[in-house]
């Protein structure tokens, strides 16, 4: 089967700095893939390239067989790609429910005329958006907070809200940038269950994460970056025992004379 995401020879240079260097990466449908590596190894840059925020210097990225280049990010969203950010980027002055409702924007089309004159089409669509948002909030466990302003949520729940905003449009691929950052251990534990449930809905997950326990527990495959280059790829067990990975994280093994 064709991979959901195919990355080939991806390179991104910022001036003299090569942030991502000739990376190949394929993600199959239904997979949970983690991208790990020390700080500054180019993980977030890869995510920004995939989601259309950056233009690459070289290489290709195919999402469902189509190139993502020269496409504005909202168009990629419409084709089924959603992402979250390293530090929650919510619509702070909107309610939790409204935040999630925005996530369905690309899949709806009510225009000015229908809205101002309350035409049945626009009204029905609005009700559908609201119902779906409530359903997604229940799925991530935030329905009780539906009317709270996003800025008043505790940080861990803000991260969940970002995931809910991504989920509402039922994307094919969900990109998560450090979803566990800022979560306490029990929230992280619930996140593991939630990510499994998301995968069970047929959504492919590509995540960056520093919490190694979480990564090892949920990932099907792990790709490791160091200084922008891919140094290893495989199942959690394989990656954990890879010499080069251990070296990248812990430094060279000391030699005793």
């Amino acid at each position: 089967m064709k991979p959901v995401l195919e990355i080939q020879g991806l390179t991104k240079q910022f001036g003299g700095l090569v942030a991502v260097d000739n990376v190949d990466l394929n993600i199959q449908k239904g997979e949970i893939r983690a991208l790990i590596g020390p700080n500054g190894s180019g993980k977030t840059t890869v995510l920004n390239l995939v989601s259309g925020v950056y233009e690459p210097t070289k290489g290709s990225i195919l999402f469902k067989g189509q190139s993502v280049f020269n496409k504005r990010p909202h168009l990629l969203v419409r084709e089924g790609m959603k992402r979250t950010f390293q530090s929650a980027r919510l619509f702070r002055e909107l309610s939790v429910l409204q935040n999630v409702m925005v996530g369905l924007h690309g899949q709806t089309k009510g225009g000015l005329f229908g809205i101002v004159f309350s035409l049945p089409g626009a009204k029905g669509e609005e009700r559908m958006i609201c119902d779906k948002a409530a359903e997604v909030l229940e799925f991530v466990g935030l329905l009780g907070q539906a009317n709270t302003l996003a800025k008043n949520l505790p940080y861990g729940q803000q991260r969940l809200l970002e995931i809910a905003r991504g989920l509402i449009s039922q994307p094919d691929l969900l990109l998560l940038d450090e979803p566990a950052a800022g979560m306490n251990p029990s929230e992280t534990f619930e996140l593991v269950t939630l990510l499994g449930k998301i995968r069970d809905r047929g959504i492919t997950i590509f995540l960056i994460e520093h919490d190694m326990n979480l990564v090892m527990e949920i990932s099907d495959f792990i790709t490791v970056l160091n200084f922008g280059r891919k140094i290893a790829e495989g199942s959690p067990g394989e990656v954990q025992n890879n010499e080069e990975v251990i070296e990248a994280y812990l430094g060279k093994r000391a030699r005793y004379a």
Partner: protein, 342 residues
């Protein structure tokens, strides 16, 4: 909603309708009714500004220019081609909106102070054209002799009769904006204000909605200008200089940016306060006016509406605490799903 709440709401609206309907006979003075009309027309312009600045968060210092475009479109079509009020009513707002799109497109990638400067420049250009293209705009002498609206046997030529027409326009435009605010379009605007990148990556075509916000803002401004032209029967370049744009922004900030009620309250207050301060004579009135604006902006960032809701939430919290203290248990929280405010 409970029956009691509903009846309270209905009687509130009824009382308001009676007050608004009898306002001209209560005020009597032709001068003050004229000032009320001006406040209504300013409210419409500020409602437009609320879309771009209050909801979408883009600073636009050109609302007076759109007002002017609407006013001149109406004045020229009326005096040169003999178009009646209702014809210019249909043409002036879209004309202003077209200029809004013209300003919106090239400034798509600008934000904050850069956008503010670009819109300021646009406002100055329009003002200079109005001042200097004399054979077309009449310059500072302006265009007199604009006719009053006529609807069947009704003629809206006096301030008191024009009041009803302007009021109906304001109410309809405010209702339209309430609907826009609580729709997917309004959420897209507010998403752009809070985080443009996140809006784009949530599926909002941020370019498109920024241009739509500009178009709507200028359509409201054009509508206000059109009403002004037919209400005062005279338009000149003096009536929409750049300082008017600043005044509109002050009105919105003082009333409460993002709030529909706040837009109307702010516009009305800043129309009347200079009139009330008139007894001070000369520069002192404007100095006090300016100082008051600065103080309000520093101490009430949410405007009057923000202050009112802040006080309201404090009172509600106090009441809830005293109830909890009285019964000794927490009240169950309402987890119902409501779709928006206003």
């Amino acid at each position: 909603m409970s029956l009691k709440k509903l009846s309270v709401k209905i009687s509130f609206y009824l009382a308001m309708a009676i007050v608004l309907a009898s306002l001209p006979s209560l005020i009597r003075s032709n001068y003050w009714i004229g000032t009320v009309n001006l406040a209504i027309i300013y409210s419409i312009a500020v409602l437009g500004l609320n879309i771009i600045l209050g909801l979408t968060g883009q600073l636009n210092i050109a609302q007076a220019a759109f007002w002017g475009i609407g006013a001149y479109t109406a004045a020229l079509l009326n005096t040169r081609l003999g178009w009646p009020f209702w014809a210019t009513f249909l043409v002036a707002p879209p004309t202003a909106a077209a200029f809004g799109v013209i300003l919106g497109f090239p400034t798509l990638k600008l934000s904050g102070r850069y956008l503010a400067l670009a819109t300021l420049g646009f406002g100055i250009i329009i003002s200079l054209i109005a001042h200097n293209w004399k054979e077309f705009t009449g310059g500072v002498d302006g265009i007199p002799g604009i006719t009053s609206p006529v609807l069947g046997p009704l003629k809206f030529s006096t301030n008191a009769s024009f009041y009803y027409l302007a009021l109906v326009c304001l109410i309809l435009l405010a209702l339209a904006q309430i609907k826009i605010k609580n729709s997917r379009m309004g959420r897209a605007f507010q998403a752009i204000k809070d985080n443009e990148l996140a809006a784009e990556l949530s599926g909002v075509n941020t370019f498109k909605y920024r241009v739509i916000a500009f178009a709507l803002c200028s359509a409201y401004g054009g509508m206000a200008g059109q009403l002004f032209a037919h209400g005062t029967k005279y338009v000149s370049a003096e009536t929409f200089f750049v300082d008017m744009s600043i005044l509109f922004i002050c009105m919105l900030m003082i009333g409460g940016a993002g709030s529909i009620a706040g837009s109307i309250i702010g516009a009305s207050l800043l129309t009347f306060i200079p009139e009330w301060l008139r007894f001070l004579q000369g520069p002192w009135a404007m100095a006090i006016f300016g100082l008051a604006i600065i103080i309000i902006m520093i101490f009430m960032p949410g405007g009057l509406v923000g202050l009112a809701s802040f006080i309201g939430s404090k009172i509600a919290m106090h009441l809830r605490r005293s109830i909890q203290a009285g019964t000794g248990r927490t009240t169950s929280r309402d987890v119902g799903v409501s779709k928006g405010t206003e």
